[in-house]
Amino acid sequence: MKVLLDLRWFFSERKKQYSIGITALMIVALLQLAPPKIIGYIVDAVAKDELTAEMLMRWMIILVVTGVLMYVLRYIWRVMIFGSSVYLARVMRERLFTHFTRMSPSFYQRRRVGDLMAHATNDINAVQQTAGSGILTLFDSISTGGFVILMMAFSISWKLTLIALVPIPVMIFLTSYYGRLLRNRFRVAQEAFSDLNDKAQESISGIKVLKTFGQQKEDVESFTKRSEQVVKENMRVAKVDALFDPTIAGVFAISYILSFYFGTRFILSGELSIGDLVAFTSYLGLLTWPMLAIGFLFNIVERGNASYSRIQDLLSVEPGIQDRPNAVSQLPHGDIVFDIDTFKFPDDKRASLRNLHFTIKQGETLGVIGKTGAGKTAILKLLMREFEGYTGTITYGGIPITRYKKECLRQAIGYVPQDHFLFSTTLGENIAFTNPKIDPAKIVAAAKSAHIHEDILTFEKGYETLVGERGVSLSGGQRQRVSIARALLMDPELLLLDDSLSAVDARTEEAILRSLKEERTGKTTIITSHRLSAIQHAHQIIVLDEGEVVEIGDHDSLMAQNGMYKEMYDLQQLESIVEQGGGADE
C-alpha cells in the first residue's frame, strides 16, 4: 500500500476528480443494493398474494430511476478515475523523458535502451493501473462489499450473513496466493518469449551467414526448440491462471449451500421470510466482484509498488555533469590546450589517456591517428564534456572548459560521431537537426559540402525522403555523410569528426576534406581516423598508442621520423591506390 502514499502528490493534484469519482462510486455501491431488495419485496408480496398495481408501479418507477442514476454515476466515476490514471501515466512519462534528456553518457553506458524502455512502458503501465483499477477496486470492494454485507446483516439476518461469509477468507487467501505464483511464472514465460525474440532477431540479421553455411534447416530447428520452451512456460502460467475462476465458483457454491441450508432453517423457525432468502442470495451474488477484487487489489498494488520505486530510482539519478556556480556564458573561441596527465572512463580499470599535452591553434586542423582503442574518441568526449574526472586541464581560449556553461561549449561544437545515428524522419530534417526551421537553401549547401546532395537527389522524394524503419535504408557511407552535413549546417566554431569518413570511398573522402578546408578557414577542426588519408593534410597530427602520444608533427615531419606513422602510411598506401585507381578511369 506504500505506493498509494507515495502517490499522495498526484491524488492531491487530482483531488477534485478523485473525490467526484469516489463519491459516485460509493453512491453506485449503495444504489445497487436497491434492486435485490425490491425483487425480494415483490417476491414476498406475490407469495402472500398482496401485490397491488399501485405498489408495483411505485417500485418499478424506483427501479427505473435507480437504473438511470446508476448509469450516469458509473459513467462519471469511470471517466474521473480512469481518466486520472491515464493522466498520471502521461505526467510520469513526460517526467521520465525530460529526465532522460538530462542523463550523462555514462548513464547510457551502464543501462540498455531495452531496459529503459521497459521502465517507460511496463512500469508506467503498472503505476497507471494502481491509480486507476487499484483505487477503483480499493474503494469499490470496500464500499460495495461493506454495504452489501451491512445490508445482508441488518436488513435480513446477521446470523445468516456470518454463516455465508465463512468461506470467503479462504478465497481471498487462495487468489492472492495464485497471484504471487502467477507473477513468477509469468516472468519466466516473458523471458522465454524475449529469448525467442532475440533468436529471431539474430537469425534475421545473420541470414547471410546462415544461407552461406546452408544451415537454414538447423536454424529452424533451434527456433522450434525455443518456441517449444515458450509453449512450456506459458502452460505453466496457464495452470495457475486457470485456477482463479473455479476457485471463486467453488467458494461461492459453498456460500450458497450454507445460505440455503441455514436460510431454510431460519424460515422454518420464523426468523426469515422467503423473500428475505431470495434477496439474500441476490446479495451474495453481488459480493462475488468485491471479494474477487480484493485478491486483484493486492496484486495490482504490489506491482505498482515495485514499478513506482523503480521509476523513482531512475528519476533520482543525478544528471552527470552540471554547470559550475558562476560558469562563463561566453562562446569559446581561440586556442585549445590539452594538459592531461591521466583520464579513466568510469568503470574502466586502465587509464584511457595519459600524458596528453598539445595545443591546437585557432583555425587549424588537428589529425588524431591510432588503432581502435588508442583513445581517439576519448579526446573528443572530454572536449565535449561528456566525461570529466581527468587530472590536468583542457583550456579553450584560455579558459578551462569546465568553467564554461555546458550550453555555450556545446553550441560551439559540431560533432560527427563514429556510429552515425539518424532519426526516423526526413533526410532534410536529419540535416537540419539543430534548426528545423532553417532556410532550405542552407540544408542543400550543407549537403553539398558533405557530398551527399547528389545521393539525396537520386531518391524520389529528395530531401523529403524518410529514413529508418519506415523509410529508405542508407548505406554506411551515406549515413556518415548525412551526419557530416548535420554538423556542417551549424557552421560550428569547432568541428569534431570521429572517424567519420571510414565508410566513404577514397575519392569522396578527398572531396569532403577539400570542401572542409575551403569552408572552415579560421575555424578549428579535429579529425580522428584510423585511416591516414583523412588526416594527412592536417596542420598537426598526433599519433596515439594506448592512450599516449607517441608521435606529433605534420605529415612531412612524421614521415621523416620514420616511426609508427611512416609504418602505417606505407601499409595503407596500397589500399588507397587500389581504391582510387579502380574508379579513376573516366
Binding site: L51, R78, L116, S203, T212, Y256, T281, K371
Partner: protein, 590 residues
C-alpha cells in the same frame, strides 16, 4: 484518422477463415475443449434452475422431505463440481490448443523467412520481420485464448439461458427474444466505432514508444547538438495526443460497455417484474420462477459485456494475422535449384559465361561478365563501390537469381547442383563478420554438429585465431554476447575465417574488409587469408594490391563491366589502368 491499415470486412473474414484452418489438424483437442466449455456453461445455467426448484417445491410450501431435499442438494453440489473441474480443464485445454496453433504459425513464418531471398532482407528492416514472427503471432494467441472462448461462452450461454427461459415461461421468454437484435445492434455499433478508436490508440502508442526508444538511442546526438528541449517538446506533444485519445476511449467505453449493459439489465428486470407482478393479479405465480428469471437474465447480459470488451482484441488479432500471412505468402523466395546433377564439386573450376544482371529489371549492374578460374586459382575483383563486385558474389552465392548468362562450377551450372552441395563446397567470408550469441566454439561450429572440438581447434589454429582465443579467460568456451561486441573487429574476422575453414570448402569467396580494422590486425588477417587460399579456387574482392599481385587473374570492374583483365604482369604490360595504379604505388612508396 489513419485508415490505411483498415481491412475490408471481406479480407477480415478471409483471414479469419485461414486462421480457423490451423485448427483442423487439432480437431480432436479442439473438440474436447469445446465439449468441456459446453459442460461448464450448462452447469452454470442449471445451477439457478435447481435453486428455483428447491424454492418452489420445498421452501414455499415449507415442506422438507429429507430424501428429496438431499437429492436436490446433491444435484446442486454435483453441478458445481462439474463446473469447477470442467472450467479448470477447459481453460487449460484452450491454452494448450492455442499455444500449439501459435507455435505452428510461428514455425511456418520463421521457416518462410529462412526461405526468402536476400532481396527481401535487403529491402525490409529486420525489426519489422522479427515482429511478424514473434509479436504479431503473440496477438493472434489472444484470438484463441480469450476471444474464441468468450465468444463461444457467450453463444452457448445465450442459447442455454434461452432454453431455460423457455422451459420456465414460454410467453415471457418469447418477449425476451427482443433482446437479441438489440444486442446485435449494440455490438455492431460498438464494433464500428471502437475499431477506429482502438486502431488510433494503438498507433499513437507505438508512435510514443518509437519516440522514446529512438530518443534513447540517439541521446548523445541530441545532447551534443543541444536539442533536448526541442525533442522534449515533440515528445510532450505526442504524449498529449496519446492522452487525449486515451480519454476519448475511456468515455466511449464507459458510455457503451459495462454501465450501459447494466442499464439494459435494469430495464429488463423492470419488465420481468412488471410482467409477473401484473400476472399475479389474476393468477398464481411461482416465486421460484421470478428468482430464476432475474438470475438468468443477468447471465444473459454478462457475456454480451465480455464479448464487447474482447472486440478490440479480435480486431487486433485479425490485423496481426493478416500481416503474418502476408509474410508467409511473400513471393520473394530464394533462387531455386533445379538439382538435376548428382555430381560433386571436386575440382572447383569456376566459369562465368556472359552474365548480365539487374536488381530492379531496369538498370543492369553486371554487363556480360565472362571469366574462368581454374582449380586452385585466385580471381581478384578490383573496382570502386558500385562497380559490380558485390553483385558478382551475390549471384555466385545464389543470393539472387540470374536469368541471363550462366555460371558453372566444374562445368555444371550453379542452378543444377543441390543447394547442400553448393553450401558445403563454397565458403564465403563476409566483410562484416556476424557473431551469434553463444561461445567462441559454437560460433566456429555454427549448427554443424559433425565438427568435433578438435576440428574447431584445428580450424582456429589454421587461421591463427588460436593465440587470441587461448588468451581469453575461458578459451573456446568464452561467451560471445550479442553481435560479438566484446571482441574486436579483427578478432571477429578471424573467427569468421575459422568458421569457413572448418567446413573445408573447395571454393572460397572473400569479401574483404576495409573499414574499422587497424593496421596490425590487418597484417595477421592477410597472413591467414593467404594460407586459406592455398589449394582453393578463390574469388576475392580486393582492396589491397599486395594481396592480389599473385592472383592468376585480376578483373578491373567499372560500372558493371570488366574493363581490364589479366595477371599482374599482363596488366602491367597493357599499360592501362592497372599500370597507372602500379606506377602510382611505386611512385609514392619511395
Amino acid at each position: 484518422m489513419n485508415n490505411k491499415q483498415k481491412m475490408s470486412a471481406r479480407d477480415q473474414f478471409k483471414t479469419f477463415m485461414r486462421l480457423a484452418k490451423y485448427v483442423l489438424p487439432m480437431k480432436k483437442s479442439a473438440l474436447i475443449a469445446i465439449l468441456l466449455l459446453l459442460l461448464t456453461v450448462t452447469s452454470t445455467i442449471l445451477g439457478p434452475l435447481v435453486i428455483q426448484r428447491f424454492l418452489d417445491d420445498y421452501v414455499v410450501p415449507l415442506n422438507f422431505p429429507a430424501k428429496e431435499v438431499w437429492t436436490i442438494a446433491l444435484i446442486y453440489i454435483g453441478l458445481q463440481l462439474v463446473n469447477i473441474i470442467g472450467s479448470y480443464f477447459q481453460t487449460l485445454r484452450f491454452q494448450e490448443f492455442a499455444l500449439a496453433i501459435i507455435q505452428q504459425i510461428r514455425i511456418d513464418a520463421f521457416s518462410k523467412v529462412q526461405k526468402l531471398g536476400l532481396r527481401y532482407f535487403d529491402q525490409t528492416p529486420a525489426g519489422g520481420i522479427v515482429s511478424r514472427v514473434t509479436n504479431d503471432t503473440e496477438s493472434i494467441k489472444e484470438m484463441f485464448v480469450s476471444v474464441a472462448v468468450t465468444f463461444m461462452q457467450a453463444i452457448f450461454g445465450i442459447v442455454g439461458v434461452y432454453i431455460a427461459l423457455f422451459t420456465l415461461d414460454g410467453k415471457l421468454a418469447l418477449y425476451t427474444l427482443i433482446l437479441l437484435p438489440l444486442f446485435l445492434i449494440l455490438v455492431s455499433v460498438y464494433r464500428y466505432y471502437s475499431a477506429d478508436f482502438y486502431q488510433d490508440i494503438r498507433e499513437r502508442l507505438s508512435q510514443l514508444n518509437a519516440k522514446i526508444s529512438e530518443s534513447l538511442s540517439g541521446m548523445d546526438m541530441i545532447q551534443a547538438f543541444r536539442q533536448e528541449k526541442r525533442l522534449s517538446d515533440e515528445f510532450i506533444e505526442v504524449n498529449e495526443g496519446h492522452y487525449r485519445v486515451g480519454l476519448r476511449n475511456i468515455r466511449f467505453d464507459s458510455l457503451m460497455l459495462g454501465p450501459f449493459i447494466d442499464l439494459l439489465y435494469a430495464g429488463s428486470i423492470v419488465a420481468v417484474l412488471s410482467y409477473f407482478g401484473t400476472a399475479s393479479f389474476t393468477s398464481v405465480v411461482d416465486v421460484g420462477i421470478i428468482y430464476a428469471f432475474t438470475t438468468l437474465l443477468r447471465r444473459l447480459f454478462q457475456p454480451i459485456n465480455q464479448v464487447m470488451q474482447r472486440l478490440s482484441m479480435f480486431q487486433q488479432a485479425i490485423v496481426s494475422a493478416s500481416r503474418v500471412f502476408a509474410l508467409i505468402d511473400n513471393p520473394e523466395i530464394e533462387p531455386k535449384q533445379t538439382a538435376v546433377s548428382t555430381q560433386h564439386i571436386t575440382e572447383g573450376t569456376i566459369e562465368f559465361r556472359n552474365v548480365t544482371f539487374s536488381y530492379d529489371g531496369k538498370q543492369d549492374v553486371l554487363k556480360n561478365i565472362s571469366f574462368t578460374a581454374n582449380a586452385g586459382e585466385t580471381v581478384a575483383l578490383v573496382g570502386h563501390t558500385g562497380s559490380g563486385k558485390s553483385s558478382i558474389i551475390n549471384l555466385f552465392m545464389r543470393f539472387y537469381e540470374y536469368e541471363r548468362g550462366d555460371i558453372f562450377i566444374d562445368g555444371v551450372s550453379l542452378k543444377e547442383y543441390p543447394i547442400e552441395e553448393l553450401r558445403k563446397k563454397v565458403g564465403l567470408v563476409l566483410q562484416d563478420p556476424f557473431m551469434f550469441y553463444g561461445d567462441i566454439a559454437s560460433n566456429i561450429r555454427l549448427h554443424n554438429e559433425e565438427l568435433t572440438d578438435e576440428d574447431v581447434r584445428e580450424a582456429a589454429e589454421f587461421v591463427q585465431a588460436d593465440q587470441f582465443i587461448e588468451e581469453l579467460p575461458n578459451g573456446y568456451e568464452q561467451k560471445v554476447t550479442e553481435r560479438g561486441s566484446t571482441l574486436s573487429s579483427g578478432q571477429r574476422q578471424l573467427i569468421a575465417f575459422a568458421r569457413t575453414i572448418a567446413m573445408n570448402p573447395k571454393v572460397l569467396v572473400l569479401d574483404e574488409a576495409t573499414a574499422n580494422i587497424d593496421t596490425e590486425t590487418e597484417v595477421a588477417i592477410q597472413k591467414s587469408l593467404e594460407k586459406m587460399r592455398e589449394g582453393r579456387t578463390t574469388i576475392a574482392i580486393a582492396h589491397r594490391l599486395s594481396t592480389i599481385a599473385d592472383a592468376e587473374l585480376i578483373l578491373v570492374l567499372h560500372h558493371g563491366e570488366i574493363v581490364e583483365r589479366g595477371t599482374h604482369a599482363e596488366l602491367l604490360a597493357q599499360k592501362g589502368l592497372y599500370y597507372t595504379m602500379y606506377e602510382l604505388q611505386n611512385g609514392t612508396q619511395e
